[in-house]
């Protein structure tokens, strides 16, 4: 397990490294939003690893809104000329900060450790900017999971749907049986997570890339997009009446206690499943969202390295190296529910869903179907992403027609790109 590995590592490092002075020679200040429970504890692994290399960890957590609060803090810190050594970022944020010229260069440590070989190309697209490694990826999340309450499906004689038609059929059946088909929380990012799945499931990877990642106006205005919104409309009929504003974990709780049959949510839901003493892959099935088998939406948390003073750079490099160490990647992702950002970590310790994800990602990468998730900051710049959120949420919460939604989407995206 993680801890034995870490302590082993700790021992080795202590052996080889300096004739240990008690005070930390160097310190890294890390801004992140992993503040609660398991994920914060997992990050502690990183802290201790660094401590063993005589690098002190200055913790700067700011939680809230999936990193929104942290990103505001980050802007203030950069504006003050006082950036942290490293800050947690999603892919698009990393790119945007790199484009602002605020980030440093991790290339030397990346080359030394062969990151280019082990990190999936799609992830590298974010981590490498203008030929330089600007951030170290920590994990790979998969938002396009469909979680299924196995007991309910057995009782109703249903099999996991692989297309949206099948999904609708299963949902209708659940509805007849008085079970809420889809556990969902009406928050923009949750709506958008579902939207991502529908776009990918109905339009396929190429369409997703054109419409979402490239924000191609023709794709956004196409009939396929109309169909996507048609499906979204159907989905809005499959949620319970009190869905609006609900936190995702309360939606997961509905799935776990049998009030709802399915939930479209990322792999972080596993934490809730395990906490309820259920087994992911057995009690709660994990399958790719309908029509997305073979594709893999991802979002990755990076630690963006800021352009810090020369004397702080060695510590920053140590931090990056530690983040990319197999030990940390494994230990952290076991807790987090995601899979390591490097492909050469053994899958043995991961649960069934994790192992499936590790297989799927290889397949998807080969098929050029490993795609950044729009809902989770890997599809579009913040402004376009939020513009899409606006339309998706508006449509999901009103009786807007699919045709209108498509038009709104085009207008919103266009004006956000200005």
């Amino acid at each position: 397990m993680a801890f034995t590995k870490t302590s082993k590592l700790l021992a080795t490092v202590a052996f080889t490294s300096a004739i240990g002075s008690a005070a930390m020679a160097q310190e890294v200040e890390v801004l992140h939003w992993w503040t609660a429970g398991g994920e914060a504890a997992a990050l502690n692994v990183l802290k201790e690893d660094l401590a063993s290399k005589n690098v002190g960890w200055q913790d700067m957590p700011v939680a809230g809104g999936g990193g929104e609060a942290a990103s505001t803090t980050l802007k203030a810190r950069v504006a003050a000329g006082n950036p942290p050594t490293a800050a947690q970022m999603l892919g698009m944020q990393l790119r945007e900060w790199a484009n602002e010229g605020a980030l440093g260069d991790l290339s030397s440590v990346a080359e030394e450790n062969n990151w280019a070989e082990v990190v999936p190309a799609a992830v590298q697209e974010f981590a490498v900017n203008d030929g330089k490694w600007v951030g170290a990826p920590v994990n790979i999340h998969r938002p396009n999971w469909l979680w299924i309450n196995a007991e309910i499906f057995d009782a109703q004689g249903l099999t996991p749907p692989t297309t949206w038609e099948e999904f609708n059929a299963a949902a209708d059946k659940l509805q007849e049986a008085g079970i809420t088909p889809l556990a969902h929380g009406g928050q923009p990012w949750q709506d958008a997570t579902v939207f991502d799945d529908v776009v990918l499931g109905i339009g396929g990877p190429d369409f997703y890339r054109k419409a979402i990642i490239e924000a191609d106006m023709d794709a956004l205005g196409s009939d396929t997009m109309v169909q996507v919104f048609d499906q979204m409309r159907k989905l809005s009929g499959y949620v319970d009446e009190n869905f609006s504003g609900r936190d995702w974990n309360l939606a997961t709780a509905m799935l776990l206690n049998g009030e709802a049959g399915m939930q479209l949510m990322g792999d972080w839901a596993k934490g809730e499943i395990i906490r309820a003493d259920m087994v992911p892959g057995e009690d709660i099935l994990c399958v790719a969202a309908p029509g997305t088998e073979g594709s893999y939406l991802f979002n990755t948390d990076f630690f963006g390295a800021f352009d810090v003073s020369e004397e702080s750079k060695p510590a920053q490099m140590e931090l990056a190296a530690s983040i990319m160490s197999k030990e940390f990647q494994e230990a952290f992702n076991l807790v987090k529910g995601s899979i390591p950002a490097r492909t050469d970590v053994a899958p043995d310790n991961f649960d069934a869903c994790g192992q499936k994800a590790m297989e799927d990602i290889v397949e998807a990468a080969d098929n050029n179907a490993l795609l950044g998730s729009m809902a989770h900051g890997h599809g579009q710049t913040s402004s376009v992403q939020r513009a899409m959120f606006d339309v998706v949420t508006e449509h999901f919460n009103s009786d807007m027609s699919s045709q209108d939604a498509v038009e709104e989407l085009q207008i919103a995206v266009e004006s956000a790109m200005l």
């Binding site: 505001t72 009406g186 009446e241 913040s382 513009a387 606006d390 508006e394 919460n397």
Partner: protein, 294 residues
């Protein structure tokens, strides 16, 4: 004996010297920043400030956004109801509490305490309480009143009113305290005189007491207006702008565009509009203040 001239000039300058740190702070950190924001609203700033002049583009974008329309409308609804209800409720409670109530101090503290709580978490309590599945509706239905419905927070047309309910909860106690203080400041003799004149309790309040609470109304109004315009935490905690964008307000809009969406120019433009709104509310108040003093 002090040198007359130096003594004189020091005496003249000392008060101004004492005031100068505040004046400098205001000049830089209020007016300077307002100026900076005004400037930003005419630039193409996105993630961080940029200095590329784009004229009124941001304003044009802003006024085309439906969310902004919604936000402004919501501020009107929310601000109007919030200020109105808080004043009415605060006044009513103050009058009720002014009837020589036993345990007045205790009750007053209960009415006042919500001001002390941060909305980061209180919002969750309210959210649950208003949630039809677990809160009031469920409880009342559990008591046997099956047809009872209270699902405003899930209703696009009604959600903004739940924000009003929670906001009133937070501030009405403070307004009550302001009015109570005002009531206590009214000359007792005058009330006796009015009673001798045969005024009924109702007439007494309507004709004699309430008109004299004008300064208290103004104080309350300023505090409430300030809270209404800055109502960010509350909305984020309670509905986060939802369902859909139904409870978006200018404060959330501004934050979102400036920081989350990286459209700082548009955010600055919305801030400008907000500042103008604030000025429209506050300057008449200040004007009446200044006039009274002369």
């Amino acid at each position: 004996m002090a040198q007359p001239m130096t003594g004189r000039s020091l005496r003249d300058w000392l008060p101004k010297l004492v005031l100068s740190p505040t004046v400098a702070m205001m000049a830089i950190f209020v007016y300077g920043f307002i100026f900076f924001t005004t400037y930003l609203s005419f630039t193409d700033s996105r993630m961080l400030p940029s200095y590329e002049w784009v004229g009124f583009d941001n304003y044009a974008t802003l006024f085309k956004l439906r969310t902004w329309d919604i936000a402004v409308n919501n501020l009107l609804i929310f601000g109007g109801l919030y200020i109105g209800i808080c004043c009415l409720l605060g006044l009513t409670l103050a009058i009720l509490l002014d009837q020589k109530i036993r345990a007045e101090g205790f009750i007053r503290t209960i009415y006042l305490y919500p001001m002390a709580l941060s909305f980061i978490v209180t919002g969750v309590a309210w959210k649950w309480f208003l949630d039809p599945g677990i809160g009031l509706e469920a409880v009342v239905q559990g008591w046997g009143w099956e047809s009872f419905e209270f699902d405003w927070i899930k209703d696009r047309d009604m959600a903004i009113y739940t924000v009003v309910i929670a906001a009133v909860w937070q501030t009405s106690g403070f307004v009550m305290a302001t009015f109570l203080a005002g009531l206590r400041g009214i000359d007792g003799e005058m009330l006796k005189a009015a009673e001798v004149d045969g005024a009924s309790t109702f007439a007494l309040y309507r004709r004699i007491v309430i008109p004299q609470l004008r300064p208290a109304f103004l104080s309350a109004f300023v505090v409430l207006a300030h809270m209404a315009i800055k109502s960010y935490d509350l909305v984020v905690a309670l509905t986060n702008g939802g369902p859909g964008t139904a409870t978006e307000v200018p404060a959330t809009f501004m934050y979102s565009y400036t920081f989350t969406r990286n459209q700082m120019g548009v955010g600055a433009a919305s801030a400008e509009i907000m500042l103008l709104t604030i000025a429209a509310v506050i300057i008449p108040y200040l004007w009446s203040e200044l006039r009274e003093k002369k």
